[in-house]
Amino acid sequence: MRFWICAAVLAAASFGLALSPVNEYFFYAAYVVLTFVVLATAWNILGGYAGYVNFGTPAFFGIGAYAATLLFKSLGAPLAVQIAAGALMGGLLGFGVGMLTLRLRGIFFAIATVAVVFIMETLMINWRYVGGATGLQLLRPEVIAPFENYIRMLFVVMAWMGIAGVAIARYVQDSWIGRGLRALRDSEEAAEACGVPTLKLKLFACTVMGGLMGAAGAPMPMYLSFIEPASTFNLNYTIGALGGAIIGGMSHWLGPIIGALLLGSLQQIVTVTISGEVNVLIVGVLLVLFVVLAPEGILGLLKKIMPRSR
C-alpha cells in the first residue's frame, strides 16, 4: 500500500512540476534520466531476476522509436498510440529473440542481442520511408493544455512510464513468477526439477523487458524532433541500462532506480563539463569496479552499512 501512495504522490508531483516555472533545461535533462530509469528497470527484469544479460537495449528501444515514427509519419498517430505500438513491437522482438536463443546458454543470448542491434540498424539504414541513414525530421504536434510546451509534457509521460515500469518490476519480483525466476537464475536444472517451466518464465521476462524498453523508446523521436539509426541504435544505451541495474543493485526494483538516477545525473554533469566520452569511460570503470568488488550494487552496500533496515 505504501508503494502505491508513493507512486501517486510522485505522479502528482511530476505533473505539478511540469506546470511550475522551473528552468526548461531541467525537463530536457530529466527526460533522459527518466528514460534510463525505465531502461534499467526493464533490463533488470531479465538480467537481475533471471540472470540473462541483454546487451541489445538499443534494439528494443530503437524498434519502439521507429514504430512510433512510422505511425506518426503515416497516420499522424497520437503519442499514446505511438507508445502502445512501441511497447508491442518491443515485446514482439523480445519474444522473438527469446524463442531463438533462451534455450541456449546465457552468453549465446547475450551475443544474439548484440546481433539484433546491428541488424535493426542496418534495416533502418536501408529503409528510406523512415529516413534511412540520414534520418528523418519530425514536426511535433500542438501541445495539449495545460502544458506550456511539448518537452514538459514528455517529462510527465516519461515520469509516469517510470512509475508504471517500476510497478511492473515490483509485481514480477514479489510474485510467484519472481520466485521462479530467482530459482532458475540460481540453478536452472534444479528449478526444472522443482517443476518450474524455465523457458516459459524466461520468455515472459524477456517479452516484458522488450515491451518496456520499446515503450521508453517511442517518445524519443518527438523529444528530439528527429530520428536516425546511428544514434538510436547506439550501444551506449546498453551500458546505461546494464550499468544502472548492476551498479544500483540487481536483486530489488529499487536498485535500477538508484543506479539510473546516479548514472543519469553523472552523465549530465560530466558530458557538459568534460566530454561525452569521459562519461562513458567513468560508467565503464564503475561497472567493472562494482561487478568485481560490490556485486550486490549500491543496495548491497547500503544493506551492509545499515544492518537493521530491510
Binding site: W176, R179, G180, R182, A183, R185, D186, S187, E189, A190, A191, E192, A193, C194, G195, V196, P197, T198, L199, S251
Partner: protein, 238 residues
Amino acid sequence: MSSLLQVKKVSKHFGGFTALSEVSLDIAQGERFGLIGPNGSGKTTLINCISGTLRNETGSIVFEGREVSRLPAYQRTRLGIARSFQVPRPFASMSVLDNLLVPYEYVEHLKEADAGKQAMDILQRIGLAAKAHAQSNQLSQVELRKLELARAMAARPRLLISDEAMAGLSGAEVDEVLKILFDLNASGITVIMIEHIMQAVMRFSQRVVCLDAGKIICEGTPAEIVKNADVQRAYLGA
C-alpha cells in the same frame, strides 16, 4: 504390482563417448529399487534421462503408462517424478524454507501460507527445521544433501529418485535418512536409490541393478547382487 516406470532400451552419447547403451528397466509401483555401479558407469546419466534433465537419443521412457521421453523436465516433475542432485544445487539466494516453497508453488500450486506449514513439516522430519530461515548457501555439505532430499520430497512425487543423498553422512545420519525413505515408501512412494554406501542400498532395496560402462551387468535381490562375480569385478577391477 503394476509397472510405474519403464525404461526401454535407452541410449545416450556425449560426442564420441557412450554413456548409456540400450538400458532397460521395469520398476513396479511401490517398489524400493537400488541402482549401483562404479563411478562413471552412467547412473546419474540414467537418472538425468528419466527426470528429463537430459534427453535420451534412442529408446523410450514410460511413466504411469505415459511416454515422457519428449517432455521437458518440469513437466515430468509435475507428473510425479522428483529427484535430488548428486552435487547439491541449492537456490543459493534463498533461505532453506524458500527453497522448498519453489516446488510447492510450481508443482502443487499452493499458496505461500499453506505451503509454508507443509514445508516446515518436511524440514522437521529431515532435521533441518532449525535452519529454516538460514541462507541456503551457508549450509554445510551434509545439510545441503538433506535440503536436496527435502526439496524433492516437497514436490510430492510418486517416484522419488535419490542420487547419492547419503554421501558424507555419519552412520547415525544414514539411518535417519534411510528411515525417512522407508517412511516415504510406506506411504506409497516408489523410491529409486543410487548410493555407494552398500549397507544402505542392501538394507533398503527390494531389487538392485548394477550398471557398468553404460550397460546393466546384473539385476536381482541384494543377496544375489552381492554374490555376483561381474559386480565384484566391476567394483574391484578385473
